[in-house]
């Protein structure tokens, strides 16, 4: 007799799960299987297995899951949203649970059950979870199981940006290159996932009580489980990891199905699924090659740019070694006097660049003719410092210089170089044989080579096979041009809509190119790029990517056959040029035999920044220290005397509260050391101390400060300076102030010279957000009146109103005058200090950098010590506000209506008139207004022959990209 059963089908981003439950809601069948993007086929296969076991039974059925939506629609089967399905299952199986955390392939979800049911999913920028872990494992060259095992042996946790995979990668990469323990990195990756869940999803609700953990990653990965349990402070009883976790959602789906009265035989369901037609919602482009002939022409054309080779076993004479220690790959080239290649190597560094390179040098020594003399050696790339120290390389050069050297070898007239590597895109324009401007991909747009690789692996292909597939795709999918995370879901959608692997492969190649052209280079037309374009980097070895580039810009380009080795080749050329000694200082064959090193981590005690240091010991007293932002921790004790206005400004602000305080205070007021207070603190401090208040300012920012308030952040895409304010508020509340005073200000001070003088929306109204999202704040302990400091009578009225209880009415006008005076004094002190710095720098013949941002960019947790990095390169640093009064606003193409931003234009104008100055713009990630100012500032500077450099900063504490830019800037300045 046939039974009545319920079937739930969960089609996730990477797996298909099927569950059959009986009429009492018991699971009687469950299966879990990866679908490798063959969604329909996998579902049909699973149904056929069920058919074999339950040929005569009838089912109510339902589909769920992120990839299930389209399938359900076209198969005309019911659908239930996956979080809701999980909710149903929890209600049935674990009714006493308080919250549920579920991590899937690409989604993170949380369900609060007690105290008002709420179901949440990560927003569109929250990054993957399961896919994120997969990506990280790929980065380390191991499986997720190995990653898990490593994490269990960790000793310490590094801070890794948890917002999205791309950010995390740029945190992890330098750690790897600096030789941090892989065990620690593995554990840090899991911790990042936990932090992401807690901050991104909880959004002000605390995760307490009995917690149920669901989803594949939380079922399979012990390290991840531990991290959650420890972070949430759970004991065994309150952390539930159910047996059926991998199929839990499918189970909920079957429960949802059981409420239906529509019964199907299994062959009917198979029939519906296999008949399901993909929708035609995908947008496709033209094939990369219209014909075989076109392809042949393309191949022939690019063959021309090959190098000559010489036999390493036979060649006699001088040779030069170039090494490019890239972020994910290692490249080595050994060349002869006339540029012939003796030896070359390109491979993934498996997260261990030092070992890889040592191994390769060993091979060179073993293979080379004894009559070869290695005269010089040079290294570039992320791992430059480490490799240089560890293997005694003669010189280290910045990547941009290396690439330019190499490109000029192939095309002496080159005017544009684009290099797409594993982790980054570098583009530079060449004018008058000098590097004129440099564009690097920002943290968010790193859809580069390793991205295709990860995708290829996820779809079960090897990278070269995968990209080959795209060459003759008939309908390449348009996947957009944003960050990896978005791309993941674009691919998901394309698959859902029935795109073939070929189409996706070609689509990915195209989106990498679009990303580079429109996001990194920001070009309007191919003419803007240049006449003679050289493309290079490992990613361009992929013919589909190369072809996409040529098609997008409508012009043929030069790709040297050693495209992936150009950095190393440039180094070798450089070593040849610079050679002075008889023989390179390169580590000898004998030394290599015994070469070994140990690494350990430590915290620098040099200053309050407490940089995380990695100390690598090569024996014989040679060691390499990394992770430090200034020279102090690098084992160099010399005091940095290069003047730095950031330091000065920061110290004057944080020390203000120490200047004077009333003896018998009428009360205690707290100011958060954040956002606008970084500029107006002198004003408010004077005002309130004059009124008789003791002024308390929150402690200096740190990553810990950020975590302190993380749970009250409602919008995870707001800028870091805003996010860290939440921590400052918590910190102040812990200091027991009578009240926090934090005014809302639509308008900032009118400095003239602009169309208006607004604050940005975030600076203007952040107090409103803080009050609404921090349950500890209320109208009494958080005073946030609306004030316009330009209208004195307004300030007086508002203050009288706000401080009603203190009976200070008549003292306000006097105090206010003093406050305005204090602000004025502070500003002129900063301007004077800038004058001094400029004078001193000129006496010492130093270049001066106007590091231009916002007042709050002096916070060292926000600027990550970039100003110190600049002084370590021998240049003096001043701020935008210290010189903005010295110039007028130039002609602009946009509305100039924000006080802070209008300073940028004036400061830029000032810089154009100073031969020894350059400007660097600091931009906080997520600052929408700088999308407007950045292009304008660039115009002002470049139209006067100045270089424009923009550094994007966020919570990530990685100065790698900043360092490349700054060093390239120095190289360009030297050449000018």
């Amino acid at each position: 007799m046939s039974k009545k059963l319920s079937l739930g089908i969960d089609v996730g981003s990477t797996t298909v799960k099927t569950v059959i439950s009986d009429s009492d809601g018991n699971i009687i069948y469950a299966k879990y299987q990866r679908h490798l993007s063959k969604v329909k086929e996998t579902v049909t296969d699973q149904l056929k297995i069920i058919q074999a076991d339950y040929p005569d039974d009838i089912f109510t059925v339902c589909i769920t899951g992120s990839a299930g939506l389209g399938l359900a629609n076209s198969a005309e089967l019911p659908f239930v949203q996956e979080v809701h399905a999980a909710f149903l299952a929890v209600k049935k199986k674990y009714p006493d649970v308080d919250s549920v955390i579920e991590l899937g392939g690409e989604d993170a979800k949380i369900i609060f059950l007690t105290g008002g049911v709420e179901q949440r999913m990560n927003g569109s920028c929250a990054g993957g979870t399961g896919a994120f872990i997969d990506q990280m494992a790929t980065l380390l060259g191991i499986t997720t199981d190995e990653l898990d095992n490593l994490s269990l042996r960790s000793q310490k946790i590094y801070p890794i940006a948890s917002r999205c995979g791309v950010f995390a990668k740029s945190d992890i990469q330098p750690l790897l290159n600096q030789g941090a323990r892989r065990e620690d990195i593995a554990a840090s990756i899991f911790q990042a996932v936990v932090d992401q869940t807690v901050s991104g999803l909880a959004q002000g609700r605390s995760i307490e009580g009995k917690i149920l953990f669901l989803g594949g990653p939380l079922f399979f990965l012990k390290g991840l489980k531990n991290a959650f349990v420890v972070t949430l402070g759970l004991d065994e009883e309150n952390a539930i990891f159910p047996e059926e976790a991998p199929v839990f959602v499918a189970y909920g789906c079957s429960l949802y199905a059981s409420t239906s009265d529509d019964y199907f035989r299994i062959d009917e369901i198979i029939n519906k699924v296999s008949k399901a037609r993909a929708s035609d919602g995908i947008i496709t482009g033209k094939p990369l090659f219209a014909s075989q002939a076109e392809y042949d022409e393309f191949i022939d054309r690019h063959k021309k740019y090959d190098l000559a080779y010489a036999d390493i076993h036979k060649y006699k004479g001088n040779a030069y070694l170039g090494i490019d220690a890239g972020s994910t790959t290692t490249k080595l080239v050994l060349i002869t006097d006339d540029g012939k290649i003796l030896y070359h190597h390109y491979s993934s560094n498996m997260g261990q660049p030092l070992d890889k390179i040592a191994e390769q040098i060993k091979r060179i020594y073993n293979e080379m003719n004894p009559d070869i003399i290695i005269k010089g050696s040079a290294v570039t790339g992320y791992g430059e410092d480490l490799i240089k120290a560890g293997l005694s390389i003669d010189c280290g050069i910045v990547e941009t210089v290396a690439h330019f050297k190499a490109a000029s070898y192939f095309c002496p007239d080159v005017d544009f170089i684009i290099d797409i590597g594993g982790q980054d895109i570098k583009c530079f324009r060449i004018k008058n044989r000098n590097i004129d401007s440099i564009m690097l991909n920002e943290a968010c747009s790193s859809g580069c080579g390793s991205f295709i690789q990860t995708f290829a692996m996820a779809l079960g292909y090897d990278i070269s096979e995968f990209s080959q597939l795209g060459l003759f795709a008939q309908h390449p999918v348009d996947l957009g041009s944003r960050c990896t995370v978005f791309m993941n879901s674009s691919v998901k959608q394309a698959q859902k809509d029935g795109a073939t692997v070929e189409d996706i492969s070609a689509g990915l190649s195209m989106s990498i190119i679009k990303n580079a052209i429109y996001k990194v280079i920001r070009a309007n037309s191919p003419e803007e790029l240049g006449q003679n374009i050289v493309v290079q980097g490992g990613t361009f070895l992929n013919d589909a990517v190369l072809r996409s580039f040529e098609k997008e810009i409508g012009r043929n380009v030069i790709r040297p056959a050693i495209s992936g080795l150009m950095g190393a080749f440039g180094c070798a050329l450089y070593a040849k040029e610079k050679v002075t000694a008889e023989k390179s200082a390169l580590i000898s064959k004998e030394e290599l035999e015994t070469f070994s090193y140990t690494s350990r981590s430590a915290q620098c005690k040099g200053c309050t920044a407490h940089c995380q240091l990695n100390i690598i010991n090569f024996g014989k007293g040679r060691r390499f220290i990394s992770g430090n932002r200034c020279e102090k921790g690098g084992g160099i004790s010399s005091k940095n005397t290069i003047p730095n206005l950031y330091e000065y400004k920061y110290n004057s602000i944080v020390n203000i509260v120490k200047t004077h305080q009333p003896k018998r205070p009428v009360g205690t007021v707290g100011f958060p050391l954040a956002l606008g207070f970084y500029e107006q603190l002198p004003f408010w401090h004077m005002l309130f101390t004059e009124l008789g208040f003791r002024v308390v300012v929150s402690d200096e920012s740190s990553r810990g400060m950020y975590y302190l308030g993380q749970h009250t952040i409602p919008s995870d895409t707001v800028c870091y300076p805003a996010k860290i304010t939440h921590g400052h508020i918590e910190n102040l509340l812990n200091k027991n102030v009578d009240f926090i005073f934090y005014p809302c200000m639509s308008y900032n001070i009118d400095e003239g010279q602009s169309d208006n003088h607004f604050n940005c929306p975030v600076v203007a109204y952040y107090p409103e957000l803080l009050l609404a999202n921090n349950p500890r704040l209320n109208e009494r302990n958080f005073i946030h009146p609306y004030i316009d400091l330009n209208v004195k009578k307004n300030v007086i009225k508002v203050l009288k109103n706000s401080l009603k209880g203190y009976n200070l009415r008549c003292r306000i006008p006097d105090a206010l005058e003093k406050a305005y005076k204090a602000m004025e004094n502070y500003n002129s002190d900063i301007a004077r200090q800038a004058e001094n710095i400029i004078r001193q720098a000129r006496e010492e013949k130093r270049n001066i950098i106007v590091l231009a941002g916002r007042p709050y960019h002096i916070d060292k947790e926000i600027n990550h010590g970039i100003h110190k990095l600049i002084t370590s390169l021998g240049m003096a640093v001043i701020t935008e506000d210290s010189v903005s009064a010295l110039a007028r606003t130039p002609k602009l193409d946009v509305l100039n209506q924000w006080t802070y931003h209008s300073r940028l234009y004036r400061a830029a104008n000032y810089v154009t008139k100073q031969p020894d100055m350059q400007m660097i713009q600091l931009v906080s990630f997520g600052c929408g207004i700088d999308a407007v100012t950045g292009d304008e500032v660039r115009n002002i500077l470049e139209s006067h022959g100045k270089l424009y450099t923009q550094l994007k900063i966020d919570e990530i504490n990685n100065l790698g990209a900043a360092r490349i830019r700054l060093r390239s800037l120095v190289a360009a300045m030297e050449q000018k």
């Binding site: 569109s124 348009d478 602009l892 999308a931």
Partner: protein
Amino acid sequence: MSEYAKFTEDMIKTHTILVPNMLPIHFKLIISIFEAEGYKMELLQNSSRSVVDEGLKNVHNDVCYPALLVIGQFMDALKSGKYDLDKIALMITQTGGGCRASNYIHLLRKAVKKNYPQIPVISLNFSGLEHDSALKITPVIFLKLFYAVIYGDLLMTCYNKCRTYEINKGQAEKVLNKWQKRIGNIYRKKSNFYLKLEKISSDILNDFAKIPLSCEKKIRVGIVGEIYVKYSPLANNHLEDFLISEGCEPVVPSLLEFIMYCASGTFNDAKIYDNANTKSHLYRLAYEIIYHQQKKLISIMKKQGSFEPFHDFEHLRKLADKYINQGVVMGEGWLIPAEMAALVQSGIENIICTQPFGCLPNHIVAKGMSRAIKQDNPNANIVAIDYDPGATRVNQENRIKLMLANARR
């Protein structure tokens, strides 16, 4: 400010003015007003992927999505070959204020200048931001625009309800088309009939009320958010259509609310910051007049009884005070939390808050206020959806579906 091509007197006859498709219903009416004045105008309908691609090419990619789309739509049209580029002008609405949206027109000019320096860009604004254009907003045009907004709001509201529940598919659209034509004709004929608010409004309401509707109970979903993404199907991936296909009734607050919000901002700021002047007094006056009309409209709607009346604006202001100060005037400012609260109050507890990815004011007024609104109204079911050139429909729809699953629970 740099030089840019001006829209001159003699261009009125020769040039066609292109208008972006922000509010499909309203903008059609608005165009007929200008046509009656002798301007040639065309509402852009291009919406293929190349609109986004042109946007990406021509504006900084971190600029908000509405700017990217509007500029992309213009550039795509200009490159389509459909137009004589020496006889084309572009028109874009402009609001002032501390949001970067006030820079849209300048970003558009920048993009246009690079490729088509001869093409003028006209600012449509009511705050006197630019005076050097031959497109003049005379008091009469202003009045006509105001009524066009009201009629547009009425049509939008009636249409959304009727097409959700209509028994005979397509009836609502027919009535909509009929009224769009009729009101357009009133304007084109330069008749003063448009002033007959009561007559026209009741006729519209009655006409729509005649459409037979099913009694099926559907989930009502309020749509609030950034003004362009909220209304433009191009930006929000046809959100209203999607909701209807999911068996819901979309409820979109009126454009008039946004206009009143802008008007009240000026005199409200004057009060907050003690800098009242003639301009702020004038705004106060204008606001009073508009508010009077709004009340009239609401009472007409109540009397007719078939459709949910618009939110009384003074009531919205009171609701806002519960959550946020009316000093928050950048972007959609306090209006978003006020509308969310008003929707919840009138039983529409399920709300989609649409916003461009990374929208600055919305950090504060949308995502920032959700918690407070939910705390007061535990049944409020709010989801914030980000729109962006890279965000995929499947992601957005899945989140909306989660919200709907909550609603059905």
